[in-house]
């Protein structure tokens, strides 16, 4: 398909062929009183340098992008090797659509199959789909899948699952039969509290690990409790780099693993596009939502790839489909695949180690300052909660205005009673000087 506008002569020819004099006449069936009746109020056409200048001015408003940042909470700053961008910008990848015709889409299908395989390896699960929109919608779909598999409606969700993920899941399930039961956390450890309400009516227990406070949950113990009553365990992972260091959710007994793949070489991009991960056990594959790529062999024995188990999807099963999703985040999944294959097993482990070590250094440094302590005693990966004696919003403003540092997230945004708590994230992109400066700036902020 060409993207070249039609010339005035071509337009006149088309109009003449249908007996009209102007393009406006095409809209004559729309009542005059709902027509705008005037030109749109936008700028005059701009030249290329003017457009570039105007966009650069807009981009320059994002001053935070240039400051050292300790902000995590679901979207993470990681280094993306140049090769990722270089390869995804190849027009064959950049412009291609969903691989409906396998005979002309083997390249696309192959990388989707590689992506699925990598996600299985990282999560410790048996089958993964071609990706969802993002972590939050993947989690919402997991609720619905658990309901279908168990034929039960109660979903127990930890308060330490990302608050925005929980809000998205509420939107997805609000008009259905799901009964969502929240579970609190232990104030000392920061981990899941006791599983009150877990019974034979529970479809799934949903936890995040590392959780929103950065604490690593005892996934195996929770899996055992859930399975004892025939319920599924859904594990949510927002920081995918953690797969490089922690025991996989699959090996701990998770039945469904969902999460966000943005940490795999995908830019933060002010919230998206990102890429949702969805993996489960083979026995549940027919209840899994989303696109699925499989291997097949032609009549000559040649290997090929093809979208498969399509009867789960709405274009075949209509209202009985496992989901209304009929797409995936192809280009972003490709970026994640290239990142993982470039870094390799050792590389991912190394990145994860750097995250954990730098975060440990930072939390020890801050714990040693007067006026701040590290809340929650559970083991952490790359995020932790700092508790001060002043509102975190004030501390963050001081850090931003006086030290030029984005210090983290004030927890009061989602947990209104936690005014003095601040969520700090440290990744491989933060160096020692930045961390030392953060500690100094926190002390300074406390003094004012």
């Amino acid at each position: 398909m060409r993207y070249i506008p039609n010339s005035p002569e071509e337009r006149a020819e088309m109009l003449a062929a249908i007996g009209l004099k102007s393009a406006d006449e095409l809209f004559r069936s729309i009542p005059k009183d709902v027509q705008l009746g005037r030109a749109l109020q936008i700028t005059e056409p701009l030249s290329e340098p003017e457009v570039i200048g105007s966009l650069e001015t807009l981009a320059a408003k994002n001053t935070a992008a240039a400051k050292p940042s300790f902000l995590g909470a679901g979207v993470y700053s990681h280094f993306s090797p140049t090769i990722v961008d270089h390869l995804i910008q190849r027009s064959e990848f950049f412009t291609s659509y969903t691989p409906y015709q396998p005979e002309i889409s083997q390249g696309t299908l192959q990388y989707i199959f590689e992506f699925q395989t990598l996600i299985c390896q990282l999560t410790g699960m048996e089958v993964a789909n071609a990706s969802m929109y993002d972590g939050s919608t993947a989690m919402a779909e997991a609720y619905l899948m658990a309901q279908r598999v168990t034929r039960r409606d109660k979903i127990i969700v930890a308060d330490t699952v990302h608050p925005e993920y929980r809000a998205v899941a509420r939107t997805y399930t609000q008009h259905g039969d799901a009964e969502i039961v929240p579970i609190g956390f232990d104030e000392t450890t920061g981990r899941l509290g006791s599983l009150e309400g877990l019974d034979e009516k529970t479809a799934a227990v949903v936890i995040q690990s590392p959780n929103f406070f950065g604490c690593i949950e005892d996934v195996a113990a929770i899996a055992e409790q859930a399975h004892a009553v025939g319920s599924l365990l859904v594990v949510v992972v927002t920081e995918a780099i953690s797969f490089g260091l922690l025991r996989s959710p699959g090996s701990c007994g998770a039945d469904i693993v969902v999460g966000e793949g943005q940490s795999f070489g995908v830019p933060m991009s002010f919230g998206g596009p990102h890429v949702g991960l969805f993996a489960t056990r083979e026995k549940f594959v027919r209840q899994m939502p989303g696109r699925l790529c499989g291997i097949a062999y032609d009549k000559d024995g040649n290997r090929g790839f093809v979208l498969t188990l399509s009867t789960r999807e709405q274009h075949i099963r209509r209202e009985k489909a496992t989901s209304n999703i009929c797409t995936n985040q192809g280009l972003i999944a490709l970026a994640a695949t290239i990142y993982l294959e470039t870094m390799g097993k050792k590389g991912i482990h190394e990145v994860a180690m750097q995250n954990a070590q730098k975060a440990a250094y930072a939390s020890r440094k801050i714990a040693g300052t007067d006026g701040f302590e590290i809340a929650f005693s559970a083991p952490k990966f790359n995020e932790f909660v700092v508790r001060g004696r002043k509102p975190a919003t004030e501390i963050l403003r001081a850090l931003r205005e006086n030290a030029g540092i984005i210090g983290g997230l004030a927890l009061s945004k989602y947990y209104p009673d936690r005014e003095n708590d601040l969520l700090v994230c440290v990744t491989e992109t933060n160096n020692r000087q930045q961390i030392d400066k953060l500690a100094e700036a926190l002390i300074a902020a406390n003094r004012r």
């Binding site: 034929r151 027919r286 009867t311 075949i316 099963r317 009985k320």
Partner: protein, 129 residues
């Protein structure tokens, strides 16, 4: 010409019913398996599930299509042919024998009498097939 055993009852949706007292066994006919092509998966209900007459109780998936299967009689599922999914090709090879789908305890044992006889089903097929 499709195989249509005399001792069974049939529906226009190409299901067969075998009645034994107040228990009915259900499956799909030879005509149905032939139309579907190679069967790869059968989605069956669970023991204890209850259905009204003409309700969909599962589906049959072939390489080219997925079709819902309806129960012509109301009742409660008392037995499910669980092993069938290990060898779904049995639906094509032996639709009236090994490939029964479910056994149902009928709410109204007389309901099956209103279904088509072998002859009536055969006539239906030749007019509509």
């Amino acid at each position: 010409m499709a195989n249509i055993p005399e001792n069974l009852r049939y529906t226009k949706d190409h299901e067969w019913v075998a009645v034994d007292g107040d228990t009915a066994s259900l499956g799909i006919t030879d005509y149905a398996q032939h139309s579907l092509g190679d069967v790869v998966y059968i989605d069956l209900p669970r023991v204890g599930d209850k259905f009204g007459a003409h309700e969909a109780f599962g589906s049959v998936e072939s390489v080219k299509a997925v079709s819902e299967i309806f129960t012509p009689i109301a009742g409660e599922v008392i037995e499910v042919n669980d092993g069938l999914n290990d060898t779904p090709e049995k639906v094509n090879a032996d639709p009236y024998g090994e490939a029964w789908f479910v056994k149902v305890k009928m709410d109204n044992p007389g309901e099956a009498d209103a279904l088509l006889s072998g002859e009536e089903y055969e006539e239906y097929l030749s007019n509509n097939g």
